[in-house]
């Protein structure tokens, strides 16, 4: 018998021929994250992964939070592995596990058996009844409740047998880096980190891009974005942040645009810039935190006027979410507290008092076409971009 952590990964199991690639990526990610800790190994076990420590005691307190952050993990279950699958052995070990976690009883429980190995002489229900009866008689104050038990004692019969009683939910999604790559436009606000997280959760590798406008934005605003990206790196296992010096581009647009149209042109320039960065890092899409009609530059008309500036698809995972829904996710993933630090992120000095909410694409494009040096300013900004590996 040894202590193990069973890892469930949901959606991948339904994949076809590329399933092994995705599984291997997940294994690789987990191994990489546990590199610092001695003795941990990861094995495949029929639709599950198995984490064991081959040298020392299993340190659940350290390992569980790390594995829960890995994208693609739907749940983890701390439990035990036993090689002797005889019914006597299952009973004894189920009792050991139960006693360890609920020594005083006083709970209701049921046993659920999963029998992947159909050659096993007993059916799942027979195993459950046998093990359940044995546990019930050997621990005081236990009751059986098959509908709504406090504890579900799980017995899984695979290559070996696994017994656990706790299922801790993870991030879900797909393993990071299995669905191509995208570049995220990050402002330091609440929305863009959430957009980045959601896309990463679908397996997309992400690089982040921040537009720095000194002296209109401060060092602290920049640090805020660095901290946000670092937080995302807890899920992705590292992230590259591009810091684009954008002041010159902004001032040029300011000088050539009616105030109410400024933001639209600015966001187009940001997309164009991000696209150039995406091109050099192999991204096949851009990601923004736009949410329909949240602000003037995120109305349907504004999106229509901004979107064509980039040749790459622009993903807007938050487009149909309410602010509160976005905030809930931000709180869950720990970016909210960073996002609400009171430093100016988007150069508010440039925002018009009454920005246009229904810009016309053709008008915007014609104004933009008259800014003759815009492309060269953007190129210059891209050239001077600072890259940070977080």
């Amino acid at each position: 018998m040894r202590n193990i952590l069973l890892v469930k990964y949901g959606e991948i199991a339904t994949r076809g021929k590329n399933r092994y690639l995705i599984e291997n990526r997940l294994i690789w990610t987990i191994i990489k994250r546990l590199e610092l800790y001695e003795g941990y190994r990861v094995y495949k076990e029929q639709g599950r992964l198995l984490i064991v420590n081959e040298k020392k005691d299993f340190d659940y307190e350290t390992v569980i939070p790390i594995v829960l952050n890995v994208l693609g993990v739907t749940a983890v279950c701390p439990g035990i592995e036993i090689t002797d699958q005889s019914i006597e052995s299952l009973r004894e070990h189920a009792l050991i596990h139960f006693k360890e976690h609920y020594p005083d009883g006083g709970v209701s429980f049921k046993v659920i058996t999963k029998r992947a190995d159909k050659r096993y002489p007993l059916t799942g229900n027979e195993v459950s009844a046998d093990v359940g009866g044995y546990v019930l008689h050997n621990i005081p104050n236990l009751t059986v409740d098959v509908h709504n038990p406090d504890v579900k004692l799980m017995v899984e019969l695979r290559n070996n047998a696994y017994i656990y009683s706790r299922v801790i939910m993870g991030q879900g999604g797909l393993p990071y880096g299995t669905s191509g790559k995208a570049t995220v436009l990050m402002s330091g606000g609440i929305d863009s980190p959430v957009a980045a997280y959601l896309v990463a959760k679908r397996g997309v590798e992400i690089e982040a891009c921040y537009f720095d406008s000194p002296p209109y934005t401060s060092e602290r605003a920049k640090q805020k974005v660095i901290d946000l990206a670092s937080r995302l790196a807890d899920f992705t296992g590292g992230i590259r942040l591009h810091i684009v010096p954008f002041t010159e581009v902004q001032l040029r647009i300011y000088e050539s645009t009616p105030p109410e149209k400024m933001t639209i042109l600015l966001k187009r320039a940001m997309l164009k810039t991000a696209e150039k960065i995406a091109g050099s890092n192999g991204s096949v899409a851009l990601v923004t935190g736009d949410s329909i009609a949240q602000v003037a530059s995120q109305t349907m008309e504004a999106i229509n006027a901004i979107d064509p500036a980039a040749g790459l698809p622009v993903l807007r995972p938050l487009c149909a979410m309410d602010k509160q829904e976005i905030i809930d996710i931000a709180l869950k993933i720990g970016t909210y507290d960073i996002s609400v630090r009171p430093y100016e992120d988007c150069c508010t000095v440039f925002v018009a008092k009454h920005p246009e909410t229904k810009p016309k694409r053709s008008i915007i494009e014609s104004i933009e076409s008259k800014i003759s040096d815009l492309d060269s300013l953007i190129d210059e900004a891209v050239q001077n971009t600072e890259i940070m590996e977080l």
């Binding site: 000194p214 002296p215 401060s218 508010t348 000095v349 440039f350 008092k353």
Partner: protein, 378 residues
């Protein structure tokens, strides 16, 4: 680097640094320890206490060390209210106090005191007549700062004290002298309680002091091992206190020279108002503290100018550092002239600054401000 943010905090001067370091190496004892090693530490505290007392003409036993200006201000306001609350319910302050005073008065309001907040005029002065009218038999406390931390207006503390005592001799007068201590000539004769801080006078952060006139009662907010005669328990920060004592000695020696020196720096920087249009002085140009110059550059956001200056190695502030973490739109400067706050930049000086630095800053502003004015909010 040109450091013009001395009202936020100052560099520890080399002399104070050496002094403090040698004390740290020499004596780490707890001043309350009964052995001679502890007694040595206690003697160092007494020395510092005397040095601080000497600056304001007080006796050493009227000085109590605290963890800083904020704690001293909190203790003064809440401690007086707690000691005299049964005798009267009216308390008076001004609209330009540091948050550690202003928020303590908000707390008193919650506790059922009648709080009267005196407004200031365009230069930042309270109206003495209005104060005189406000003080009545029911008034137990008046708290008005000496030098304002944002724009440097200096209130007439002597006059204020006599007006208060004329109306009600039992009313306690507290003055926050954090920006005045060791810089302006302040006397304990003109106040019942005075707040002082170490890190504004080239000493260590983390320590401050209160002068409490003999006979004035201030209830302590902390409880413990009886340090500072039971008024402020907790093992004394001997190192920082030693630095405060040394800094006070040095400042007292050089007060007049320093005053003149920073006055020249301020005067030099003031030239920017002739060089550029639409630059306004917040506070009192002629009689304000020479240690602070607060300017509004019309059409330039204070924070943007601050960051532009910082890229040239010049460090200033948009307001008190203590207020910059709150997101309030209106600043204290707006109480003098509404609308000036958003374009206000505070330059604050120490004796370590030079006229050359001010000249360089003027040149820098002449370059930066017109550039920034090209891009105004529309």
């Amino acid at each position: 680097m040109i450091y013009f943010d001395n009202a936020s905090t100052t560099r520890m001067s080399d002399e104070v640094f050496e002094y403090m370091c040698s004390f740290i190496k020499k004596n780490y004892a707890n001043p309350s320890s009964l052995h001679s090693f502890g007694f040595e530490a206690e003697k160092e505290l007494d020395k510092a206490r005397k040095a601080v007392a000497a600056v304001i003409g007080a006796d050493a036993d009227e000085i109590y060390f605290t963890s800083g200006g904020t704690e001293a201000n909190n203790t003064a306001v809440l401690g007086v209210a707690s000691a005299y609350g049964r005798l009267g319910r009216r308390v008076i302050t001004s609209s330009i106090e540091h948050p550690s005073v202003a928020d303590s008065f908000k707390e008193l309001e919650k506790r059922g005191f009648e709080v009267i907040t005196l407004n200031v005029d365009g230069k930042g002065y309270i109206d003495i007549d209005e104060l005189s009218r406000a003080v009545n038999e029911d008034t137990i406390l008046v708290s008005i700062m000496c030098v304002n931390n944002e724009f440097g207006t200096v209130q007439d503390i002597e006059k204020i004290y006599s007006v208060i005592k004329e109306k009600n001799k039992n009313c306690i007068f507290h003055t926050d002298c954090v920006q005045a201590f060791c810089k302006h000539d302040i006397s304990c004769k003109n106040a019942d309680i005075i707040t002082m801080s170490a890190h504004k006078i080239n000493a260590s952060k983390g320590v401050g002091a209160m002068y409490i006139k003999r006979g004035v009662r201030v209830n302590n907010l902390h409880f413990g091992g009886g340090q500072e005669r039971g008024f402020r328990p907790g093992t004394e920060n001997t190192y920082a206190i030693a630095s405060m004592g040394r800094a006070a000695e040095l400042a007292l020696e050089n007060m007049a020279d320093n005053f003149k020196r920073v006055g020249e720096v301020r005067k030099t920087l003031l030239r920017i108002t002739d060089e550029l249009d639409n630059v306004y002085v917040n506070g009192d140009v002629e009689n304000g503290s020479p240690y602070i110059l607060n300017l509004s550059f019309e059409d330039v956001k204070g924070e943007v100018l601050l960051h532009a200056l910082e890229s040239e190695g010049i460090y200033a502030a948009t307001g008190a550092a203590c207020s910059s973490r709150t997101k309030e739109k209106k600043k204290i400067v707006d109480r003098l002239n509404d609308g000036r706050g958003k374009s206000a930049v505070r330059f604050s000086f120490s004796a370590e600054n030079s006229v050359e630095e001010a000249e360089m800053t003027v040149e820098c502003l002449k370059r930066l401000v017109p550039k920034l004015r090209r891009f105004v909010p529309r």
